[in-house]
């Protein structure tokens, strides 16, 4: 079978269950969680690839991949339909002699080495499916080549007080990495790993094979492969990314990242026509905004009927919002129905949920202690009965 040689192939780790997103991922893989009105999280790494000229992406799935498979389809929405590349879903599979689920991020790549080798790539780009950011990977690759590195890790400058929540890279003056510390108590640097790696494929292959043979390894990039390369004194560099980046693995961060869309100073701007974020489209008609609606500092996607007051919120495709409703500082996911008289504040309402008449979901932080207050969440497909109160921090 003819395969075109590719300079760089991307492997996107999209297997995570995302258990900290709770009711939002009960039957959805985390990368398929809706974001920003019309997107899903996986749209970000996929669109980044396309905009970086990378047309071959392996998507490693394991947990509940059906919806994700359905969403990716033939890769058409992202233009990832190359005859000699494109988007490929790579679930675990049964081999002649043995069959196994992915045991860790490194093992997932290991099991798909033959997929990668089809394209005979020089470089391999490892991505994860749960970050919101716009990044031109081709610039990182240029840096990797210029530094003659064997592995380049994208890093972000984080405030020193937050550094102990991240995997921290300690760097030499030339940008090379001499140490990697996972969540250090006393961080020596503010350069946090974004979980984005470029490897020379030949090097990575060697380490993946060795890691696979190591019985004690947990087959993880961060825990095993990266430290192993470092220990061997491989040429590893940090590539400093300057721009918006957020791990949306928790309810709070998912909500915050949506809110960042509404803040012109956040650095998250999806409107640049030269770097579009692509998404699957659902043939919804234009949105209808009824008489007497108020919409302020909010995004409303297509296919909605809006008949209430929307402030500082994200209303996703296909929502039906009845009159007398008030939605503030909230994320309303696709195809949701908000019935008359409902009040929604500081909340995430999952896809296809229904908030029945005169219900109240969430509340302002005022009047609560820091530890008592939090985002209220209504799960995917859930119904909140009429006249019900979903309290702050509550998850149903």
């Amino acid at each position: 079978m003819y395969h075109k040689k590719k300079e760089c192939v991307a492997m996107l780790l999209a297997g995570g269950q995302g258990s900290r997103l709770m009711v939002l991922t009960e039957d959805t893989a985390k990368p398929a969680v809706p974001f920003g009105g019309k997107y899903r999280i996986i749209d970000f790494p996929l669109s980044n690839c396309v905009n970086s000229g990378i047309d071959t992406v392996g998507i490693l799935t394991q947990y509940q991949p059906l919806e994700l498979n359905d969403y990716i389809g033939n890769g058409g929405p992202w233009g990832l339909t190359s005859n000699f590349g494109g988007a490929h879903i790579l679930p675990p599979y049964s081999k002649s002699k043995n069959s196994e689920w992915y045991k860790g991020t490194a093992n997932a790549i290991y099991q798909n080495m033959s997929f990668i080798e089809r394209y005979d790539p020089e470089y391999i780009l490892i991505l994860s499916g749960d970050h919101v950011y716009k990044m031109d990977y081709s610039k990182m690759l240029e840096y990797h080549k210029a530094k003659k590195a064997e592995c380049t890790i994208a890093v972000l400058d984080v405030p020193i007080e937050e550094a102990s929540r991240f995997g921290i890279m300690n760097l030499n003056k030339d940008g090379s990495i001499y140490e990697f510390e996972e969540k250090p108590k006393v961080p020596k640097s503010t350069k946090a790993s974004m979980g984005i790696y470029i490897f020379n494929w030949k090097i990575l292959k060697k380490y993946l094979i060795e890691d696979e043979e190591d019985k004690k390894s947990s087959k993880d990039f961060g825990k095993n492969v990266i430290p192993h390369l470092l220990g061997d004194g491989r040429k590893m560099f940090a590539y400093l990314f300057e721009g918006y980046w957020k791990d949306v693995g928790t309810i709070d961060s998912l909500w915050q990242s949506n809110m960042d869309l509404l803040n012109p100073d956040s650095g998250l701007n999806l409107e640049d026509p030269t770097f579009k974020i692509y998404a699957r489209n659902y043939a919804n008609p234009s949105s209808f905004v009824c008489k007497g609606s108020l919409i302020e500092n909010s995004f409303v996607a297509e296919g909605c009927t809006v008949n209430g007051n929307i402030i500082n919120s994200i209303i996703s495709t296909g929502c039906y919002i009845e009159k007398g409703t008030q939605i503030e500082n909230s994320v309303i996911m696709p195809n949701t129905r908000i019935e008359e008289g409902s009040l929604i504040k500081y909340a995430i309402v999952g896809e296809e949920a229904t908030i029945s008449n005169n219900s109240k979901v969430g509340d302002d932080p005022e009047g609560y202690s820091n530890s008592d207050w939090g985002i209220a969440v209504v799960g995917k497909g859930k119904t909140v009965d009429p006249d019900t109160v979903v309290k702050v921090k509550e998850v149903i």
């Binding site: 919804n284 008609p285 234009s286 500092n297 909010s298 409303v300």
Partner: protein, 373 residues
């Protein structure tokens, strides 16, 4: 399905003035994110009509551009697709004398088809119709021709290309060509016809040889009157939008805002209307946005007041601007403090801050594509 489709893209261009100066009537923007052709093609796609020819003569660049990939309408198939049929004669850019002449330029397409039946459709009548059901009716009737009709709304004195008179047993008694409907609920043809393919090909060749051009008059009416063909009608019961000139085009756009039944009928979620995907962001409503009874597509940025208007994709409304009873097409930008009333702004129009434009409700002011006012 055992039926292919043929769409006339250039007929009636002359009735839409500057709006069709550089496009076919089939590519007229409609309803915030669509073009006329989207409705026709989506109906065919949803009815599993998988082979469609679009007869074009001139000005079809925008149509080709819109249909660049037909995958949006789900026509990427092995045994089918959408085929743009430019005139095989080069150089002649005059209007067709009639649909028969237009069909003659599609004869090669028609002859290559394997489907037994063909549905012909104009591009100006918008609805959400199930052609499978119409074909079933046609087959059960045993007649040569099925005219797809709807009941004329009350107070309508529009001229129709074809009116059908039928008796109480639904037998067609008379075909009337180019005549205004005289009474409520009369059966008016929607410019959509079902025929057996081989019979259609023969009729086209025969008519052209005899110098006849008018499909409804020279073929349907004539042969019906002579007893040569049997005519059946299919009564479509959903909402129908006939666009016959700029005024009805303007009204029909605004009807989408107010007419709940029309919206339900036209945008039936089980039979979606597809269009070209442009990957815009959702529409942003900033401080000062006052949308009121409007249809608003994706990718707009709104900081002004909007009343009873249709906004296409990527429209920008500056703060303090007021837009009323207007159609603002894709990419247009209305500066701060502008007042726009009863207007149609074609694509990529720029209205500089403070400008006031007011048309009449029955004669909206039209700003041509790309103009800066």
């Amino acid at each position: 399905m055992n039926m292919a489709g043929v769409i006339f893209s250039n007929l009636f261009d002359e009735y839409f003035g500057v709006l069709t100066k550089n496009r076919t009537v089939a590519s007229l923007p409609f309803g915030g994110r669509y073009r006329f052709i989207d409705f026709i093609l989506s109906n065919m796609s949803n009815s599993n009509v998988t082979n469609v020819g679009i007869i074009t003569k001139y000005n079809y660049n925008s149509l080709m551009d819109h249909l660049e990939s037909t995958s949006e309408w789900d026509f990427n198939r092995k045994n089918g697709g959408v085929f743009i049929l430019p005139p095989f004669s080069t150089g002649i850019t005059t209007l067709y004398h009639g649909k028969l002449e237009a069909l003659f330029s599609a004869i090669e397409f028609l002859e290559k088809l394997t489907q037994e039946y063909v549905v012909l459709s104009d591009s100006t009548v918008l609805c959400n119709i199930d052609y499978e059901d119409a074909l079933d009716t046609h087959l059960k009737s045993g007649k040569d021709l099925t005219v797809i009709t709807h009941r004329v709304p009350s107070n309508c004195s529009k001229k129709y290309a074809l009116l059908i008179k039928a008796d109480d047993n639904k037998n067609v008694t008379d075909l009337i060509v180019d005549y205004p409907a005289m009474e409520d609920g009369e059966l008016a043809g929607m410019g959509m016809y079902i025929m057996e393919r081989v019979q259609l090909i023969t009729a086209i060749k025969d008519a052209i040889a005899k110098g006849r051009h008018h499909l409804e008059k020279d073929f349907f009416q004539k042969e019906f009157n002579e007893g040569k063909i049997g005519v059946n009608y299919y009564e479509f019961r959903g909402s129908v939008l006939c666009n016959t000139n700029i005024s009805s085009y303007y009204d029909n756009n605004l009807r989408l805002i107010t007419d709940e039944k029309l919206k339900r009928d036209l945008f039936d979620a089980r039979r979606p209307i597809f269009t070209k995907i442009r990957d815009e962001v959702p529409t942003y409503y900033g401080k000062g946005a006052q949308p009121d009874n409007c249809l608003i597509a994706d990718g707009c940025r709104i900081f002004g007041s909007l009343y009873n208007s249709v906004l296409f994709r990527e429209v920008k409304i500056g703060s303090g601007a007021i837009v009323k009873n207007s159609i603002i097409m894709q990419g247009s930008e209305i500066g701060e403090g502008c007042v726009i009333e009863n207007a149609i702004l074609d694509k990529n129009v720029t209205i500089t801050p403070g400008v006031k434009l007011t048309g009449a409700r029955n004669a909206p002011i039209i700003i041509e594509k790309g103009e800066i006012v």
